[in-house]
Amino acid sequence: MGEGVAIMNYKHLPIPRPPSLRKRKLFAGQIAPQTDMCNDVHQGRKNSNFYEIIKFLTLILFLLPLPARAQDEYSFDLSEIEKEIEKKPYTIGGYLELTPKVFWLDHDAAFYRLNFYDRQEKDYLDEYNVKLSMNGGYTKGISEIYIRSNINRTESGIDPGTDVTIDEGYLSVKPSSTLNISIGKKVMKWGKGYAWNPAGFTGRPKNPDDPDLALEGYIMATADYIKSFSGPLKVIAVTPVIIPVYDHVNTDFGVRNNTNYAGKLYLLLYDTDIDFMFLKGNSRPSRFGADFSRNITSNFEIHGELSYINDITKKTIDSSGTITQSTDDAKSFLFGTRYLTESDITFIFEYYRNGTGFTSEEMEDFFSLVDDGFTAYRSSGDETLLKKARTMKEGSYGRPNPMRDYLYLRISKKEPFDILYFTPSVTCIYNIGDKSFSLSPEILYTGITNFEVRLKAGFIAGSENTEFGEKQNDYRAELRLSYYFDAVQ
């Protein structure tokens, strides 16, 4: 391959681009804020402010691609570049992110009733989030300390407040290129799925609506041992993990006072990434998994992932509020592909079978419970059923995509209309079981150095007693402005 020569196969790319009581609803409610309610005291003033902000941000958005400073040729000074690339023992960086959101509420949806039955009725919710994410590292010899933390301020009619979290903070030692040992809080993502990772045993679940979001890690001790070979087996990597769960340590991982052991074996075999993984311990049921990923051609990738969970306990609730516990093995799997067309459109498609998910009947029972509970509350003020439903919502019923069979499709087009660094996309998550779905168009612009603008909307379609049909919101709009900085350079 030549210097500066693209590997694009232009033989096939001749035209590259420069740069009941309830309504039956279509496009209804999405992504319920997972919070308890509180009274909205300044709604009118905030609404007015909100529209001002939206107008202002929209103006910024449309002005972004325009800056045209007449600069002729580039110039450079090698000594300046050499200063720029000088390595320092420490790093400090991060990003500041402003995210105004608005949710148009669906008064007839189960999750709206569950969240708002004891609150003032609203037509929409506005939320403003400011996040400062900072990361820093210090390297000395073969050791490195790294920390990543967030300060998150949310102004909202339902759950205002400030959170400070340390997402990662660990010490790693790299005695050689074959060995890396780490201890501390670390994000560890396993699996090849883009939207879901049934084999992600050591991490927190992704939000399929925004799978690339940075997540919080768990406190662990881990190592990577890598060995390369020539021949069809090119690489073997072994990753053992120890995850303790005690008071104040990984309390949300599972049952406390246990030490859990996990491991992953990675192989690059016949140009295919293959992983085998397990988790064993008493905090969570034991589980085993595997995944693979392979490029079929230079623009076509396939991947798959599966997991087997031993004796997992599932809690369901029926329409009368009776909770049933059952224990069974669960098998989950995912198949997916990534395909890039000649016109630079990327398709990511996945099918996900969630072995721990609810059936349509089980979800219908839950929605009926909310319905009956709401009727009882309205007629007699009795909250018993709704409180039971709320408790179950905080568990499995309220998680993203709680059911069994899903399809995911994301289509993105790089730099259309000659606008460099501009990427429009649309994402659809389809629930095969109840035929409801969400549709999220999005535009992303990264043309200004260290500045990123993302405008995203959410629509959903689904009839009564379906996953998306019963979401809290009808529609959603979100603007995310991010500014990245490097305090050392």
């Binding site: 210097e3 694009m8 196969n9 580039y74 990003y95 890039l340």
Partner: protein
């Protein structure tokens, strides 16, 4: 008869120029461009028709014919991203995403004219055979043909300086000889340890009218590297090589 003999003599005298071993010549050009195993820094500049620029700085390492990796040092929005190429396998690691993902070679991680293979370049000889060499006096013109259908450009036409065997210009062509991209090698610089090569590479394309991309090399030096550096598991740790 005498005319025939003279004609034959002219043909035979001309033969030595045609007898240049093109593939050996290309290998020599490869070695003059970079050592077999090395580290370097690259600054990429995308220049739009209105003069607007976007710059990226990368640290890159390469070993042998099929192993190359790079990590973005700036801008801050890209810092820590790394890419790995092992033959035709490519991966991208984004710190926020937290795990390497397999990517196709047709994608671009920086936007603009550069794509993944501009960053993860392999030797010419690993992907092309020399079909013909023309001796133009002070320059050679090498006509290269892709070894496989999966390779980006079916043909390359390379102008190389005879004196120092470094490229001056490269035209990237489709199978139907349509020009896709022209690359200009400029500013030959002594990087030390016998590495004397162009420090600047400019790229333009009739398909990207008015756009230009520039790659500036700095601190290139030969370096012995472990094979394990070129693995998916090592990607988040590339910075430890600096």
């Amino acid at each position: 008869m005498r005319k025939i003999i003279i004609a034959l003599l002219i043909v035979f005298m001309a033969t030595p120029a045609l007898a240049v071993d093109g593939n050996s010549l290309l290998l020599q050009i490869d070695r003059n461009l970079n050592p077999d195993s090395y580290e370097a820094y690259k600054k990429l500049i995308n220049i739009e028709p209105n003069g607007k620029k976007k710059e990226f700085v990368l640290f890159t390492v390469k070993k042998g014919k099929d192993k190359v990796a790079a990590m973005f040092l700036s801008p801050a929005s890209e810092k820590g991203r790394s890419t790995l190429r092992l033959g035709e396998n490519m991966w991208l690691y984004i710190p926020n995403v937290g795990k390497p993902i397999r990517i196709t070679s047709l994608q671009s991680v920086v936007g603009g004219v550069f794509n993944n293979s501009d960053i993860l370049r392999l030797d010419y000889t690993s992907e092309y055979n020399v079909e013909k060499v023309e001796d133009m006096g002070g320059q050679y013109i090498l006509h290269l043909k892709a070894k496989a259908k999966t390779i980006a450009y079916d043909k390359l036409k390379m102008w190389a300086q005879k004196e120092n065997l470094v490229p001056l210009k490269l035209e990237c062509l489709t199978e139907a000889s349509m020009l896709v991209k022209t690359i200009y090698y400029k500013d030959v610089k002594d990087f030390g340890d016998g590495i004397v090569r162009p420090a600047v590479i400019e790229t333009d394309s009739p398909l990207y009218k008015g756009y230009k991309s520039v790659m500036i090399f700095a601190k290139m030096k030969a370096r012995e590297l472990d094979d394990e550096v070129f693995t998916m598991t090592f990607m988040p740790n590339l910075d430890s090589l600096r």
